[in-house]
Amino acid sequence: MVKLSVKDVYVAKGQNLKVVSKEEKQTVYHSKKLNLWYGEHHALKDIDLEMKENEVTAIIGPSGCGKSTYIKTLNRMVELVPSVCTQGEILYRERNILDNKYQVEELRTKVGMVFQKPNPFPKSIYDNIAYGPRIHGIKNKKVLDEIVEKSLRGAAIWDEVKDRLNQNAYGLSGGQQQRICIARCLAIEPDVILMDEPTSALDPISTLKVEELVQELKENFSIIIVTHNMQQAARISDKTAFFLNGEVIEYEATNHIFSTPTDKRTEDYISGRFG
């Protein structure tokens, strides 16, 4: 209930006029009876999850529980793995993205992704950010300049790199690289941002910066984040889903799942008894 009052403060300050109250938030993603196999291996079993806009949804669970697979299914990145087979539906804004008619390129311009290991291109910082807009046909230098600045500001890294936009992104530290990757993702102006363990390769201070950034970004984006780190899920998410062996064990408001988990397995996991 603390959550609601925080949201009310945002509304009162006029910072987030789109969202009036928790009840009116629209669903961005809704997976229904989603099953996935890697060859013979049944990696996701009957996943039913509904995710709301302008929220941070965390997915936690031990290694190999299917949480990364699930988030990669949300932008169909999982198809890059040969011999993947899916069944069921994932509705993104009420359209089934697993339908063959859904253009995967179109989906991925609305759903950006930040990966586990910072993966900037071996290009200049500017070209990294401008990559997305350019592949979607924006050539105007002035527009590109504006997008680059806006995205870098959005990822809270503008002040650190504004004087060296033409330098190779590989010269930055790991934490800066990851924020460049977030900026690169913002440059395509997505609706949802998927984050696959975005801080697992970062030091604590860089992790903190990324976490703060996630809090700011959720005002304008819906964020789904996979994390290994339960404290992180507790700190930054509104809702948490606990995955185990390819199944959703529990999906609840974060403060609920961490204070009074319903399932014994959830309780064991968050209290550190396994995983």
Binding site: M77, E106, R108, T109, M113, N119, R184, C185
Partner: protein, 293 residues
């Protein structure tokens, strides 16, 4: 408590181990020195025999019955013409095939079979490619003993090497970079063009230039194709007859007069210079565009 490592014994055996250690260093050093010595003798003989015949006239004269008038102009220009045909054909086909096999082809038995056989093709003797070229390009397609016929044959010969080199360069591009590109809604072709190829270019070019220099030096396929050696004109197009450096050298070397042995050595010097230039370009490209992942 039982001790398995007896330190007194370890110290006793220490000397023996160190001797073996040193011995192998010497063995490997000798192997390297042997190769260096062979190279040294080769270079010495070439300079010793050929240097005297190497002159501006040698570069600008056509072939001749008289050793002192013999020149390498037709062969040198002919080899350059050969490169003009071989380089674009083998690069386009080779890199194209590598992109298909690495980026598009699915993992299945047929494609594995194709991949394996391309590597095997790289080991097929060059004379077999010569016979293939003679049958298909010279005779069936009636291209004659032209630059084009020889160029196509040489392209086929070095194609497997280029494909394998390009495949390795493409495979070395981290998959995270591809994922980043796909993740922003880029199509496969945009990803290949803007992410994969720029990162793979140094590897592709180094491998390809080494393959091209092999095409410059190959003789057997040209012999089989029947490329002439006494040529007193320069090619005026890709359908023109021509001769090439290794053919010319081969012809000089098999002549009975002793002077022609020296002419052949001078020819080898020209060929070696040609190859060293090509290889230097490869090294330059590798250093200049070195990747940092």
């Amino acid at each position: 408590m039982v001790k398995y490592v007896d330190h007194v014994q370890v110290v006793k055996r220490m000397n023996g181990r160190l001797v073996v250690n040193k011995m192998f260093k010497i063995v490997f050093l000798l192997a390297t020195l042997f190769a260096l010595a062979a190279l040294g003798v080769l270079v010495y003989r070439m300079f010793d025999q050929g240097w005297g015949y190497l002159s501006a006239d040698f570069i600008t004269n056509f072939a001749s019955r008289f050793p002192e008038k013999a020149g390498i102009k037709a062969a040198l220009i002919g080899s350059m013409w050969l490169m003009v045909v071989v380089a674009p054909i083998s690069l386009l086909l080779g890199v194209g095939t590598a992109i298909y096999l690495e980026e598009y082809a699915k993992q299945n038995r047929l494609n594995d079979f194709i991949r394996m056989n391309i590597s095997n093709l790289a080991g097929v003797p060059s004379i077999v490619f010569g016979l293939l070229g003679l049958t298909i390009f010279v005779r069936s397609l009636a291209l004659g003993k032209s630059v084009l016929a020889a160029g196509l044959t040489m392209s086929l010969l070095i194609l497997p090497v280029i494909i394998v080199a390009a495949q390795e360069a493409i495979r070395a591009v981290p998959k995270e970079l591809r994922e980043a590109s796909y993740g922003m809604g880029a199509t496969k072709w945009q990803t290949i063009l803007k992410v994969v190829l720029p990162s793979a270019v140094p590897g592709i070019l180094t491998g390809s230039i080494l393959a091209l220099s092999r095409a410059v030096g190959e003789t057997a396929p040209l012999v089989v194709l029947g490329i002439p050696v006494i040529v007193h004109f320069l090619p005026n197009g890709i359908l023109s007859e021509f001769t090439a450096l290794p053919m010319q050298i081969f012809d000089w070397a098999k002549r009975p007069q002793e002077e022609f042995q020296y002419v052949a050595a001078a020819g080898i010097l020209v060929l070696m210079t040609f190859l060293v230039i090509l290889n230097s370009i490869a090294v330059f490209i590798r250093n200049k565009f070195q990747n940092r992942y």
